[in-house]
């Protein structure tokens, strides 16, 4: 296996197969995340949710996809057509690229990844920041005041929460000493008789809370879905998008949602380690629980007002994240010498 991997052609063959498999997995997961969200939201509102197409409505997304794919590819008049088309492509590309560095534990000591690089988490954040461009360019190119407002809101929101999101994870990196996601999951402690991996939330609980809140804002999900804001901005940057271009934004949103859920599982809950549960199942359970949390939040909380959003980001989360970094640093220095 190693021999093939080191051979340049064999390497590329393996990577291509890996990318195809991952693309298929993430796309399928996205489809069922949408289904899961619609059913869960329905149950929260005491209705059954989609249950017509296929058993339990499981084929609903196929039907929706076909419907959207056959819609007219509409571009509004007097817009920058190139930017209008490029914007959703950026969104979907950025969303999928983040999965290049996310490792998935398939079995004991068998993990799956496309690129195992030593700046893994940084790269995920780099790609998730690209989402700002997708939204701002889409909002600008739509030549519509609601779209533009949505795009501007998104730019301010994503920049504000990016910082606390990044800083929330710094204590984790300080403790583990690596940005490689696999190293963070494999981080082991030697506490008395216990010798093995632990969920890092035990060491960085505040970081986890900040990450959780910032991640909701970063993925533009309710209650931080101000760029979309159906009631105030019609659909924000999505207003003028229809058909396959709309699908791309939609897809990107749900891929990002799965990405931050997977990251939360990897960074704070020990990834594929869960007592005696097989690794791939453990990882799956953790991601699904986080996805449910996001849906649950969406079903519960009303949207924040814009100034509240900014106040929470700059006056609460950012100072808290910085204090968390400093306190963790002090503790690490004093305990480790």
């Amino acid at each position: 296996m190693n021999q093939i991997y080191n051979d340049p052609i064999g390497h590329w063959i393996i990577v291509t197969i890996a990318i195809t498999a991952l693309l298929f997995t993430v796309l399928t997961a996205t489809a069922y995340t949408v289904w899961f969200e619609r059913v869960a939201l329905g149950r929260i509102q005491r209705r059954p949710g989609p249950n017509r197409v296929g058993p339990f409505g499981l084929l609903q997304l196929a039907a929706d996809g076909v419907k959207l794919a056959f819609k007219e590819s509409f571009v509004p008049a007097a817009t920058d057509k190139t930017l209008f088309v490029i914007a959703p492509t950026i969104a979907v590309a950025a969303a999928f690229l983040a999965w290049a560095v996310i490792p998935i534990g398939l079995w004991y000591n068998v993990q799956y990844w496309i690129a195992d690089i030593n700046i893994g988490v940084l790269l995920v954040f780099a790609f998730s920041s690209l989402n700002v461009y997708a939204i701002v360019i889409g909002g600008y190119a739509s030549n519509n005041k609601y779209s533009l407002l949505g795009g501007l809101r998104s730019a301010a929101q994503l920049i504000s929460y990016e910082m606390s999101l990044g800083l929330a994870l710094v204590p984790t990196f300080m403790i583990v000493g690596s940005l490689r996601l696999r190293d963070i999951v494999e981080y082991t402690v030697h506490w008395g008789w216990y010798n093995g991996p632990i969920p890092l939330i035990l060491l960085t609980p505040i970081g986890f809370v900040i990450y959780l809140i910032s991640a909701v804002a970063e993925t533009n999900r309710a209650p931080f879905d101000l760029p979309e804001a159906e009631q105030e901005l019609i659909g924000g940057f999505l207003t003028e998008y229809s058909g396959l271009k709309f699908v791309m934004y939609y897809l990107a949103e749900y891929v990002n949602m799965i990405t931050v859920s997977a990251l939360a599982a990897l960074l704070f809950f020990g990834g594929w380690y869960l007592w005696f549960v097989p690794p791939v199942l453990a990882f799956f359970i953790k991601v699904v629980l986080f996805l449910f949390l996001y849906i649950w939040l969406r079903g519960t909380f009303p949207r924040l007002r814009y100034d509240m959003l900014m106040r929470l980001g700059w006056k609460v989360l950012l100072p808290l994240a910085i204090a968390n970094v400093i306190v963790t640093g002090i503790i690490l220095v004093t305990t480790l010498g």
Binding site: A40, G42, R43, I44, R46, R47, P48, W296, L297, G299
Partner: protein, 206 residues
Amino acid sequence: MTDEQDSKPEHPTPMRRPGERLPAKPEGGKTPGVMADVAALAGGLKTTLSEFFRPPVTLEYPEDKSPRSERYRGRHYLRRYDNGLERCIGCELCAAACPVGCILVIAAENTDEKRVSPGERYAKTYEINMLRCIFCGYCEDACPVQAIVLGPEYELSDTSREKFIYTKEKLLEPLPPDVEARLASKPASAPHPNPLPEGERGKTLS
């Protein structure tokens, strides 16, 4: 009256003049702390989670339908007598009573060779424009022989405007048996039982 004018309104108007300051917060009022806020958020999450585990309250419409009232006014039917004769005598009272004018009746004379209804005349043409009908039921009230009734069906959507002109053939379709049985229990000659006691009748109704 003066008391009401002097007392301050419970909610002061939010409009402020330029330069006017915000009203001072009431004394002794404690601003809720962070823990109270978090508890409120947790309370909200608890509510939605408990709803999540309760059964849905919706009906799955095409399979389950909500019950209609016995007197529900849906699509129209023209009734027949037990011997097969049509009830409608072509008097056009229904058309006159209709507020939107959606009923068209063209009457023709009954002859001994061709007897359609027991009266002198019968409805040669009887059409209802269901796109105009407002389902008020005035036609049913106006009919002296209880020929036209509004049945329980309410799923009347169709694919062309022409299909919404209900012709006599369509209206003469037999009523659902339970509705027919309910109507048959009321004698046709006395459509409305007089609500007034015996001695009072002539005074108000004449």
